[in-house]
Amino acid sequence: MKLALLSSLLRAVEMAQIDLNNIAHSYLAAPSSEDDFALKKLNVSWQDGGAYALLGPSGCGKTTLLNIISGLLQPTQGAVLFDGADITTSPPEVRNIAQIFQFPVIYDTMTVYHNLAFPLQNRKVPKHEIDARVRRLADMLELSKYLPRKARDLSADEKQKISLGRGLVREDVTAILFDEPLTVIDPQLKWSLRSQLKRLHAEFNHTMIYVTHDQTEALTFADQIIVMSEGEVVQTASPQELFERPAHTFVGQFIGSPGMNVLPCALDGHHISLAGHTINVGCNVTLPSGAECIELGVRPEFVKVTDNNDALPVTVEAIEDAGRYRIARLRFRGLQLAAILPDGAPPPSETAGVLFDADNVHIYADGHLVGKRA
């Protein structure tokens, strides 16, 4: 009774924003230390109609976070707010959330039509309305010709479209959660499904939260990317910002291909030295007191291979051809770094020099970006 009331209430207010307040989760019954938490304390806000990606390596807590939003998991601590209303303890069926899983979930014995109609039938929507919605949606998802067929006879990408359709068919749905939905889809179909997702997002303006460990997927899908590592959010930013100003060495290394060069360095006034050699760019930062590990981060895109005298002398270990560009694997006194070679540049000889682009050299103290002094 209470649930039904809550559910109708939630539907009536047409929710917009999702807030996670001090959410933490442990899969253990009695977590004692920080390490017992799969998800460490975090605060995230998702604006209505945003396209978000949760990016991070396997096991970093992305799916846990997603299941907390959908209500499949009860967080150990904290509150989930939908437009300010606390729904932490509400079950998934009253949350108006759709979730698409890694493996396409379809009801084998049902037809495609029945699969799409199922969430509405469960919610006692009148029959003619179900029919209209299912047919409209099938048109949009290009599933119309399959409607009378058994869902299990379809291919993986079509099955995944059915799971997506079961979410979209509910018009009151506020947010659609994707849990690595393209894992089992053939590469060439991934692109078409992803662009279809973007189109649906533009059309319905649902909040979409997309979990993935594939940076290309995250960067092409989302306006805002939340990068996670070991149960913590390390940075929330636009794709461009993640590329230009990674807030953490993890983000730098995880995003980009190859990832950012992270090299231990020493600061001497305005000079930066790598393994005893002062490099071509200076810096203007104040280190936090007590910082133990100082590192320099520079993306391979901003490392220029040259024979300039000021350059850091490196040995060239290998040249990799990545198709659109070539990567030079370099070594300087035990430090390994990568550089992207410009188009048409002749391959460097065995010894060369590198220069860093001053604007794109970042200093990290214990992994965290140290801001430039004004």
Binding site: A98, T109, P119, N122, R166
Partner: protein, 293 residues
């Protein structure tokens, strides 16, 4: 490269062929051989053609035993399959209690058939058996040696006690093999408990259920030891199932020809019904009867 044409490959299949020959083909053909001949001992045989088959198929004795057999199998299946399914659904999915449940379930399956028969024969006796004595003490007229209903009830309860576990274990294996994501999707779709059973659990269990139905059908259709030990086919002929009848004919009366013919017919019936179950259950994998087309 020149291909060599010889028959060496036959040697590779020979062991399997020999094994099948000695375990299946030769014994079966021996029975078929008996079923078309008559013998008066002294190893003398006379060709009678389909005579025995005609005699068996037209005999009231066979019809009665056949109907009893069908009734028994149908009752046993109708109880054991739903009951096994229900127990499997209510069993815990994780924790230490899983092992406890599984061991408890496996116990009846470890007991030899004739021991099961003996246990129930004693358990249900009216003079010393706990069940029989108690029932009579409560005023129930229960005596499986005199009362047809009591004899049937005893055999059916005994079979349910002995074999429901098998259905439970098979169904449970099917249930735990369902990925949790199906249940999660169903929760998001707002599916009721019944819908989860109807559209997720039942379809995913259809294969193991088929195996359960086939095994229980074949076993119950060929039941011999337990009724032989408990009721001996009685009272009268009330629990003389096909196999009991067959043994009476072959060993008791030494009518080798008719008994062989009955064996072949029996064999064909088991195959035919099993095939029918298989065909029906795999054709649509439990097609939803309602639902939108």
């Amino acid at each position: 490269m020149q291909k060599t044409h010889d028959h060496k490959a036959l040697w590779l299949v020979a062991p399997a062929l020999l094994l099948v020959a000695f375990t299946a083909v030769i014994p079966l053909m021996t029975v078929v051989n008996y079923s078309v001949q008559d013998t008066f001992g002294n190893n003398q045989f006379f060709w009678v053609g389909a005579e025995w088959y005609r005699e068996i198929l037209q005999s009231d004795r066979f019809h009665a035993a056949f109907l009893r057999q069908i009734a028994f199998s149908a009752t046993v299946l109708a109880i054991e399959i739903p009951l096994g399914l229900a127990i499997a659904l209510s069993m815990p999915k994780k924790g230490i209690s899983v092992s406890v449940c599984l061991v408890l379930m496996a116990l009846p399956l470890l007991i030899p058939w004739n021991v099961v028969g003996t246990i129930w024969q004693i358990f249900a006796r009216v003079d010393i058996g706990l069940l029989g004595y108690t029932l009579n003490g409560l005023g129930v007229d229960y005596n499986y040696t005199q009362n047809v209903g009591a004899a049937w009830a005893t055999l059916i309860i005994m079979d349910v006690w002995h074999w429901t576990s098998l259905v439970v274990l098979l169904c449970y294996a099917g249930l735990v093999a369902i990925p949790p994501v199906y249940y999660q999707a169903a929760r998001i779709d707002g599916a009721s408990r019944w819908a989860v059973f109807r559209y997720i659990e039942l379809p995913k269990m259809s294969r193991v259920l088929l195996i359960a139905v086939l095994l229980r059908f074949m076993d119950s259709f060929m039941i011999y030891t337990e009724p032989f030990v408990v009721t001996g086919g009685g009272p009268g002929n009330a629990t003389t199932f096909l196999s009991v009848d067959l043994v009476k004919m072959a060993i008791g009366q030494f009518d080798l020809g008719p008994a062989a013919a009955l064996s072949v017919i029996y064999f064909l019936i088991v195959i035919l019904v099993s095939w029918a179950f298989y065909t029906i259950m795999t054709r649509e994998d439990f097609e939803p009867s309602g639902g939108v087309r």
